[in-house]
């Protein structure tokens, strides 16, 4: 067997060997080589030291409320999505799901209609602007005039020959 340290690719075999990842056949062959190769022997000793040193780093304990917090977030997520999903999702009520394309079409048509109607309305002219600018007294006068006309109209009707019949 050639010395694995001759190429990086093969040297990776020694790393795998230290991690006990190799099959029994190749492991036995490597062990045989390592026993007679000082360079590989030293490499393995150092790699094993690293492997053992890494075992020292044990994880921190997990917060006891980790699951509770996660499920609260999931519940929140479900709550946000549910109202729309319940209506439109595959499990939503059938009439609503069927009505969705019709409603969408209606909204589009309504929007188009409003736009077309708006484009037909002429821009506000100076007369309209004057009406908007009428003072309250002017309105009062106008109403008084209308009332006078109405009373005159009533008098005229009562005087006409038809009304006497």
């Amino acid at each position: 067997m050639n010395c694995p340290l001759e190429t990086r690719e093969n040297a990776a075999l020694l790393v795998a060997h230290a991690a006990r990842e190799l099959g029994p056949d190749i492991a036995v062959r490597l062990d045989r080589h390592i026993a007679g190769c000082p360079a590989c022997s030293e490499f393995m000793r150092r790699q094993q030291a690293v492997w053992d040193a890494l075992d020292v780093w044990q994880p921190e304990p997990i917060s006891p409320d980790f699951n509770r917090r996660l499920y609260a977030r999931i519940e929140e997520l479900e709550g946000q999505a549910s109202w729309w999903q319940r209506l439109t999702g595959p499990r939503g009520p059938m009439p609503v799901r069927r009505a969705m394309p019709i409603a969408a079409t209606a909204v589009v048509l309504l929007a188009a209609g409003l736009l077309m109607d708006r484009s037909r309305v002429p821009a506000a002219g100076p007369e309209q602007a004057q009406i908007e600018m009428l003072q309250p007294e002017q309105v009062e006068h106008a109403l008084d005039d209308m009332e006078t006309i109405r009373q005159f109209d009533r008098v005229m009707r009562s005087d006409s020959p038809d009304s006497k019949m």
Binding site: R45, A53, F66
Partner: protein
């Protein structure tokens, strides 16, 4: 790692049940993989609070993706892909810099760990803490991708093919990453033998 393959099928099966609306299967997956995800992310970002936050995000993403889940890879590969992505993003954004547990504080602040069943002497505890501190520093000194590869290889026992899929590279690239990472670690930690 033949057992992992069997576990994979079971995990994927559980995830498919989650897809069908079975919440209990999600609870089983969470219970099974919670520790490994949190520990992996913790060793990546070196802050327990942020690690737990990121791990919550991992499981939240798993849950959110349930409807589109397809078992094209091992469940753990998918899980660690999400975890690695979030951890690397967090490191890149520097979100944990403000909160990163200062390595200098570790020796003084952490409770004394026991090295054996019997109570360790003060000297043993100090030696142990010094070793732990050196290991943490050595791993922290690795580039992000090398660190992720070492953590998945050493602590989570993922196969090279899985690590390759998680890191989106070839298996030979993973071997090369690991070789370089262990080379650095040998230079720093081999004296501990």
């Amino acid at each position: 790692m033949g057992g992992a393959a069997v576990a994979l099928d079971y995990d994927a099966e559980l995830m498919l049940r989650v897809k069908d609306g079975d919440g209990a299967s999600f609870a089983v997956l969470l219970e099974k993989h919670r520790s490994s995800v949190i520990h992996f992310v913790y060793r990546m970002v070196r802050n327990q609070a942020i690690a737990e936050e990121l791990a919550q995000e991992v499981f939240l993403r798993v849950y959110r993706s349930r409807s589109s889940y397809e078992p094209t890879a091992k469940f753990t590969t998918w899980l660690f892909r999400i975890a690695t992505h979030l951890a690397l993003n967090s490191l890149r954004d520097g979100k944990n810099q403000r909160y990163e547990e200062r390595l200098d504080d570790q020796v003084e602040d952490l409770p004394v760990r026991q090295v054996a069943d019997h109570r360790p002497s003060v000297e043993q505890s100090m030696v142990f803490e010094a070793r732990l501190d050196e290991v943490r520093r050595a791993v922290a000194s690795l580039p992000d991708k090398q660190r992720a590869a070492v953590l998945m290889h050493k602590y989570e026992e993922l196969e090279y093919s899985q690590i390759a899929r998680v890191l989106n590279c070839s298996e030979s690239a993973v071997k090369s990453l690991l070789f370089r990472a262990y080379e650095t670690l040998r230079a720093r930690l081999a004296y501990m033998a």
